[in-house]
């Protein structure tokens, strides 16, 4: 089950809508955040398939057209992915209040992430995307980025801004984030997109060096690889702590 630090229930206080638990263990504050309970279900493997599919469709010949055409497909895919996340993150022990509103949550997250594509687009330009040319391509890239990196996070955190800020901004962020499957896929997406620019200046004159193919591919691959990291960490921890698993924190 959850690889998170198992809290001996000394003092448990519920914040917000119960998505964050603050657990005090021997004066140390450890934050507990929602995480996917069924990691394999939330593995964004569809991203890998999707990018391969785009390439087969002729992404290299006409990036703009293909990205535009398949946006709806991707939105549909993300709807079902969002549903999987809600299933994987639901806590079976507790009565989850938001369980009834799954549809609403998914819809709202989708709407918000579509809106957020604008700030993402501006950030992309600020980080070096072409200023005047390829605006539509950049915007499409922003849309995809927002759909595949921000949308899952919104669902996992039930659109709760404070929890999200807490999640990335707490003192222990590195450890907390690196154990979270969905968050790592988002981080992987961002990092992958950033690294995806590296082949652009090379003089290989390939079709796939067109803007923004490498960035999209980097992001899609990064989200898949990123979500594997918590799995590996998990395996590693289980493997190393087997002899004395009872003594674990």
């Amino acid at each position: 089950m959850s690889p998170n630090i198992k809290a001996p229930s000394k003092t448990v206080s519920f914040l917000h809508d119960g998505s964050t638990e603050v657990v005090n263990i021997e004066d140390k504050v450890v934050l507990k955040f929602p995480n996917s309970n069924i990691p394999l279900l939330t593995l964004p493997i569809h991203n890998a398939f999707f990018i391969v599919g785009l390439f087969l469709y002729g992404l290299q010949q006409d990036p703009k057209g293909i990205l535009r055409k398949n946006l709806v497909t991707y939105i549909v895919i993300q709807f079902s992915y969002g549903y999987l996340i809600t299933i994987a993150c639901s806590n079976k022990k507790k009565k989850d209040r938001s369980e009834d509103n799954r549809g609403l949550l998914i819809g709202a997250s989708m709407a918000i992430s579509l809106l957020l594509s604008l700030p993402v687009f501006i950030t992309l330009i600020l980080l070096g995307a072409p200023l005047i040319e390829y605006l539509e391509e950049t915007y499409l890239l922003g849309l995809y980025l927002s759909l595949s990196a921000i949308y899952p996070l919104l669902i996992q955190f039930k659109c709760n801004y404070e929890t999200l800020v807490n999640f990335f901004g707490n003192g222990n962020a590195l450890q907390v984030v690196s154990q979270n499957h969905v968050a790592m896929s988002s981080v992987g997406y961002a990092v992958g997109t950033w690294i995806g620019v590296i082949p652009l200046p090379l003089d290989w004159d390939r079709d796939w060096q067109k803007w923004p193919i490498t960035l999209l591919t980097g992001g899609m691959a990064g989200s898949f690889l990123g979500s594997l990291i918590p799995l590996f960490l998990d395996c590693y921890r289980k493997f190393t702590s087997k002899p004395g698993s009872k003594k674990e924190l």
């Binding site: 600020l126 980080l127 070096g128 072409p130 200046p201 003089d203």
Partner: protein
């Protein structure tokens, strides 16, 4: 103290090592002046007292790759029939890179091969007329000396090389500026070939057609316009061949080829394989029996492969004139049978003598002499060719001339310097009390990432992308490690985003840039320029202590302040300085033939009138003289301001903000040395500088700690490189900008022009190193709360800053040298890597050593 000694030792090793490496890496070239004579006094080329040909028609078709002439895809059917008849001898002629028209024309006419330094000199003074070959020997010159009447129509690059008044009877140059024009450029040439003209009295006709090259640039070698253009060229060749008399030699050639997307300049097979065709009915007796057209092959090898410069001695023999002095060509063997056997030997002997004289000039007497004595007695043509190729190889193969001892010694010194600088870096990490690993390891990772790009030629060409990537990463990591606030990092990002888009750099992408936009919108350009000048002036006047140095009485209130004579003087000085500079920029812009916005025109008229020059009916020289005097007085004013600031500051103990004032004064100088469309970038620079300064001074107290100094110097290096590459510079020699190198000069003075060139090339980097020093050493006294830095603290800060910058320069120098050495047989070694070596040398020597070490050290000593 030990740190300092180690640093000095490392710096010394770095500079010596890099200079030594360059000395071993760049071979030298000997160019002989003067005009050649026959070695034996009389011509060995004549037979029966007559030369083989009297007249020459040279048709240069720009970018005519060999397959356009000879392959099955070619539409030049008349050429094919000529080759099949045996009246034309076809070749594939290797053209030496750089495969650009100007160096290639030099090669075709003088017969010399460009080596790297030569190629630099070629491009560096592309803009002025010193290109001219009027002093160098060429076959054009030799024919002129034979009292031949020369005519030229076509690409005006020829007219740059050969001053038309001196060389050509009739001429008409076409400009290759409009690449999208496929037909006009060629019709401009062909319209001169009227029947009248062709039947008139001429000896040499040179035609240079550009249309085919333009088609290549636009649509590539398989463009749909290509067949019709080839047909057009074919018809012209047919017309010329039919009209030509028997003693006319027709030469058709490409100056260079093109690559698969239709561009040229590099050294791929396509680019270096232009076609060459010599046609005359006389060649039928050579009995060649060649098939034409041939199957297309991807190596572009059709028929005999010769060197393009071999055309020079061949023309010399066929038209009977001495081989031009610097020619490295070898007579093309296919034409020897036109002569009797003993004359063939005489021709080869002449060729050998000629190459030997070049060889002697380059190496002095050598072991070849003995060989030559033996060779002279031989009667075997093959052995003569062996001998010719032997000398030619030794003369052309500059690659074989690496001086390995010097290269290895240089590499060893560079390695030592890197070792010293990194151990210094380690020591400084250990001395850091906070013991945080992150900033040190991040710096090391960034530097390693940066130096690894030296191994990829395209990343060197696109270095601005590397620096963009690194600058963004630096800002993001400082933000994520919570060293700068969110909004300053956002402001910094916006600032560098604007800087990045100011000019296009690199070869690969050409996108929107502010400078292009401003050039198209002079109104906005001049509004921004005025704002920039105003901001720079206000900063100079009020940011530092300049006024306080001039003031008679201490500052009481603003009213008193205005009445003070000293403050008046300083205001007038500052105002006049920037006004003079602005007037200069305006007049220069007008003098260059640009239209001044209407609302500025009265100002220009006023400037002109106050110097007695009527603008409407202006004579160009008058305004030029005015510009020179403006620039001169500006330089004097800057010098007066700077020295007054230093002396008065010293006398009145106001040294606290010395660096702020000096950097503001020099900023004016930098703006003066910048092209008009780039001047507004200084507004962005000011913005970034103040964001940084604000960030530092709200967080830290001077003297800054090791970590902060290190991070700031790295950020400065990022900003320096980013702005260097965003102000129109690249890593190619072609972009060295000379438009501001002659400010205030009436005549060429290598020292002054060189200094001005350096300043105008390094405006961005100089600005940032001054800003850094301002942040490191100057602090505004706020209500007597902060103290000034003591001498010892200044020296320590200086030392700490130097350690991180030396780490960067020594590591980059070492890796760059290693990559150039390892890739010395790479295709782009002369076009990409070597210019980078030169650029790096100037960064390291001029910017790092002279400006950041010596000049800053001097200022700090004066402080």
């Amino acid at each position: 103290m030990r740190e300092k000694r180690l640093f000095l030792f490392g710096l010394f090793m770095h500079i010596c090592g890099f200079l030594l490496f360059m000395k071993g890496f760049f071979p030298s070239k000997v160019v002989l002046s003067g005009v050649n004579q026959f070695s034996g006094g009389e011509s060995p080329f004549k037979e029966y007292q007559a030369p083989k040909f009297e007249k020459l028609i040279l048709v240069v078709v720009d970018a005519l790759r060999s397959d356009f002439l000879f392959s099955r895809n070619s539409s030049m059917h008349f050429v094919h029939s000529l080759v099949e008849q045996g009246s034309a001898i076809p070749f594939t002629a290797y053209s030496n890179p750089p495969t650009v028209t100007l160096p290639r024309l030099k090669g075709i006419t003088t017969g010399s091969t460009p080596n790297f330094l030569d190629a630099i000199l070629n491009v560096a003074d592309d803009k002025d007329t010193s290109q001219s070959l009027s002093k160098q020997d060429s076959w054009v010159k030799q024919l002129l000396l034979k009292n031949k009447k020369l005519n030229f129509f076509g690409d005006d690059t020829w007219l740059k090389l050969f001053p038309p008044v001196e060389y050509f009877e009739n001429f008409d140059g076409t400009n290759s500026f409009f690449v999208s024009d496929f037909t006009e450029v060629d019709n401009n040439v062909t319209r001169h070939l009227s029947t009248n003209f062709l039947s008139s009295d001429w000896d040499v006709l040179i035609l240079h057609y550009l249309g085919l090259d333009h088609i290549g640039h636009k649509g590539g070698p398989r463009s749909s316009f290509m067949p019709s253009k080839q047909k057009e060229m074919d018809q012209i060749i047919e017309m010329l061949y039919d009209r030509a008399s028997d003693d006319t030699l027709l030469v058709v050639m490409g100056d260079h080829g093109m690559n698969e997307i239709g561009n040229h300049g590099g050294s791929s097979t396509g680019e270096t394989s232009p076609g060459l065709l010599l046609a005359s009915p006389k060649f039928q007796k050579l009995g060649k029996n060649l098939k034409c057209p041939l199957d297309y092959n991807a190596d572009y090898k059709y028929y005999g492969k010769i060197n393009q410069i071999d055309i020079v001695p061949t023309l010399a023999a066929l038209l009977d004139f001495p081989i031009p002095k610097n020619s490295l060509g070898v007579f093309i063997q296919d034409f020897l049978p036109l002569w009797k056997f003993e004359n063939q030997i005489r021709i080869l002997k002449e060729n050998c003598e000629h190459l030997l004289s070049l060889y002697r000039a380059k190496y002095g007497q050598s072991n070849l002499e003995g060989k030559w004595e033996k060779q002279k007695l031989s009667n075997s043509i093959d052995s003569y060719y062996d001998f010719l190729y032997l000398i030619q190889n030794q003369l052309t193969a500059s690659a074989a001339e690496y001086k390995y001892h010097e290269i290895f010694l240089g590499l060893a010194l560079l390695l030592g310097s890197t070792g010293i600088s990194s151990s210094n870096f380690l020591i400084s990490y250990l001395k850091d009390k906070s013991q945080s690993v992150t900033p040190y390891s991040l710096l090391a990772i960034f530097i390693l990432f940066y130096v690894s790009h030296f191994f990829a030629s395209s990343l060197i060409e696109e270095e601005h992308q590397v620096w963009w990537f690194l600058s963004c990463l630096t800002i993001m990591t400082t933000y994520f490690s919570k060293q700068i606030s969110r909004h300053s990092s956002l402001l910094l990002l916006i600032g560098i985003r604007l800087i990045r888009s100011w000019c296009n750099s690199g070869q690969k992408y050409y996108s929107f840039s502010f400078s292009d936009y401003l050039l198209g919108n002079p109104d906005i350009l001049w509004q921004l320029n005025i704002v920039t000048y105003v901001v720079a002036t206000i900063m100079l006047y009020s940011e530092g202590d300049l006024t306080k140095c001039f003031m008679m009485a201490p500052y009481v209130n603003f009213k008193e302040h205005l009445r003070d004579v000293g403050s008046m003087i300083s205001f007038i000085l500052v105002f006049v300085t920037s006004t003079v500079s602005f007037s200069f920029k305006l007049c220069q812009y007008f003098n260059d033939g640009n239209n001044i916005p209407n609302w500025l025109y009265p100002l220009l008229v006023w400037i002109g009138e106050s110097h007695g020059i009527p603008i409407e009916s202006m004579v160009e020289n008058q305004l030029h003289a005015l510009n020179v005097s403006f620039s001169k007085s500006f330089f004097v004013l800057v010098a007066v301001l700077a020295s007054a600031r230093i002396v008065l500051g010293k006398l009145r103990r106001k040294t606290n903000l010395l660096l702020t004032d000096i950097s503001n004064i020099i900023t004016l100088l930098l703006i003066h040395q910048t092209r008009v469309e780039i001047i507004p970038i200084f507004l962005v620079f000011f913005f970034v500088k103040f964001t940084l300064k604000h960030q530092i001074f709200t967080n830290d107290q001077l003297p800054l700690d090791r970590k902060t100094i290190m991070k700031l110097s790295w950020l400065t290096i990022c900003l320096q490189n980013l702005s260097f590459l965003s102000m129109g510079n690249t890593n190619s020699i072609a972009t060295v900008d000379l438009s501001n190198a002659y400010n205030g000069c009436n005549s060429y003075n290598i020292f002054i022009v060189g200094l001005l060139t350096i300043i105008s090339t390094f405006t961005g980097p100089i600005f940032w190193s001054l800003s850094l020093s301002q942040m490191l050493y100057d602090q505004k006294l706020v209500e007597n709360n902060t103290r000034t830095l003591s001498r010892h603290e200044i020296a320590e800060t200086f030392q700490k800053k130097n350690i991180s910058s030396l780490l960067f320069y020594s590591t980059s120098g070492l890796v760059l040298a290693i990559s150039c050495f390892a890739l010395r047989f790479h295709l782009f070694i002369w076009t990409v890597f070597s210019p980078k070596v030169l650029y790096f040398a100037s960064w390291s020597l001029i910017l790092h050593f002279f400006i950041e070490y010596l000049f800053m050290g001097l200022l700090l000593w004066l402080k």
